[in-house]
Symmetry: none
Amino acid sequence: MIGAGPMTECYVFRVGLTVNYAPESTDNAAAALATIRQMIETGKLPANGRLPTERELAAELGCGRRTVRRALDTLETEGLIWRKQGSGTFAGQPPDPAGALAAEIAPDADPLVVMEARLCIEPALADLCAKRATGEDVEKLRKLARRASQPLDADTAELWDGALHRAIARIAGNRVMLTAFALLDEVRMGAEWQEKRHRARTAETMTLYDRQHRDIIDAIERRDGQAAAAAMRAHLEALSENLKASMERSET
Amino acid sequence: MIGAGPMTECYVFRVGLTVNYAPESTDNAAAALATIRQMIETGKLPANGRLPTERELAAELGCGRRTVRRALDTLETEGLIWRKQGSGTFAGQPPDPAGALAAEIAPDADPLVVMEARLCIEPALADLCAKRATGEDVEKLRKLARRASQPLDADTAELWDGALHRAIARIAGNRVMLTAFALLDEVRMGAEWQEKRHRARTAETMTLYDRQHRDIIDAIERRDGQAAAAAMRAHLEALSENLKASMERSET
DNA sequence: TCCTGCACCAATCATCTATTGGTCCGCATA
DNA sequence: TATGCGGACCAATAGATGATTGGTGCAGGA
C-alpha cells in the first residue's frame, strides 16, 4: 500500500522521521510524544494533515501501539490533532460541518431573508440562554459586549458583535439549535451582505446596539427568558430597519 | 424498509394498481398520465414516496417506457414529482442538502433536545406561514392534516404528520429557515428516536393532535401569525410531554 | 508499574456490481 | 406522417463486499 496506493506521501514523511529523530530512548512514552509533537509542529506531513496510522507510528518509533495511543491522547486534549474511527488521525482542528451547507445557500441569500431567519431563531436562543447561563457565562457576555461597544473601527466592532451572538447561542446549550445557528452565522458572512452592512454602522446606531446588548444580558442575568427574547427581538429589528434603510439608500 | 429487501413494498403498491385501474386504453399516453397521477394523489406508495421504476411502470401499464417518461415529464413540470438519475422517481418536493449535516448530530441526539429545538423553530415558522400562505396552500395543509388523522397505522400517520410540518416550513417561504428546519427534520428521524415515539401514539393522543393541527391551520387561514405560533407551541408541548412520559415508562 | 503484543469490535473507505433515469435509434402500426 | 414500442447504451446512484483504521480489553513480560 505504500508504493502505488493513496499512501505514497507517507513514505516521504517516514524518511524524514528516521533521519531526524532517534527512535530509541529510555522512556519510550515521552519520546514518542515528543517525536510526534515535533512531527506535527514542523509540518512534515501530507496535504490532508493526515498522520500515519497508529500501527505505522508504532512500527516506526519502535514502540507499542498502546504507547502511541497515549501520546496521541495527550495531543488530542491539547487540541493539536483530532481522530475519527475508521478514517484516521489528522493535525489541526476538526472541520466545521456547517460550512459546506452554508455555501449552498450563501450565494443567493437575500440579507433581508437572513435577518428574518435571525429574528426567528435568536430570540429563542436568548430565552434558552437565560435559563442556563451561569454567573461565569454572564461575565463572559458582558466582556464581549464591552468589546463590541468600544469605538475602534466598524469592522472589529462587527466581529465582537458576532462573537457575542455566538456566545449566547453556545450558552443556550442545545446542540441542534447551535448547529442551526452556525448555519445562519455562516450565511450571514456572505460577501455582498457584509458590504451592505458596513453602511449601516454609525455612532448613533453603535450606542443604540450597545444599549440593546446590555438589555439582553441584563435579562439573561435575571433569568428572565421572556425579557431576553424580547430584547433580542428588539435588537434584531433595529438591525433590520437599519439594513433596509441603507439598502434603499444604495438603490437611489 | 418494510419487508426483507428494499423493494418489497413496491409489490404491495403494484397489486393495488393492477386491481384498481385498467391498463388498457385507446390513448395510452393520456391513460398512463392519469393513472400515475391518481397513484400519487391517493398516496398508495411506499414510505419513501418512491415510485416504481420507469421500466416497471411501463410493464404494469402495458405501454412503452417512452410513454411513461412523457407522463412523468408532465408531472415533474407540475412539481408533483422529482427525479434523480440512478436513484429513482419520488413524489413531493426534492429534499434539501441538510442530510449530511444532520448525520453529524443525529447519532447522539437526545429526543428532548430535538423537541426543544422544534419548540424554538416551528412556532416561528408557523408565524411566517400565516403571513404568506395562499388559499391554495391552506387547502393543501388541510388535506395533509386529514391524512394524518386517518387511523390507518401509527407509522403512516407519523409520515403524514411529518409532511404537514414540512409543508408549513416550506410555505413560510424563507430559504434559510427551511434549511434549518430540514436539518432538524433529518435529526428527528434518528432510529432510536423513532422507536421511542411509537409508544407515544394512542387513540387519545391522535385525536388531540388532530385538533391541534386544525387549530394551527385555522390560525394560518385567519392570517393570525401570533395565534398560529401559539397553537404550534401548544402542539409541540403536547408532543414533548407525551415523549417524556413514554421515556420514563420505558426506564422503569 | 509500565510497556508490549495480540485479538476483537465498530466505523470508515475503496471498489465492484446491479439498478435507475437520460438519451438515441430502428421499427411497427394506425 | 405521427405515434408508440423495443432495444441498446451512457451516466449517476445505491448496495454489498473486503480492507483499513481508530477504540478497547486482556494476558504476559521487563
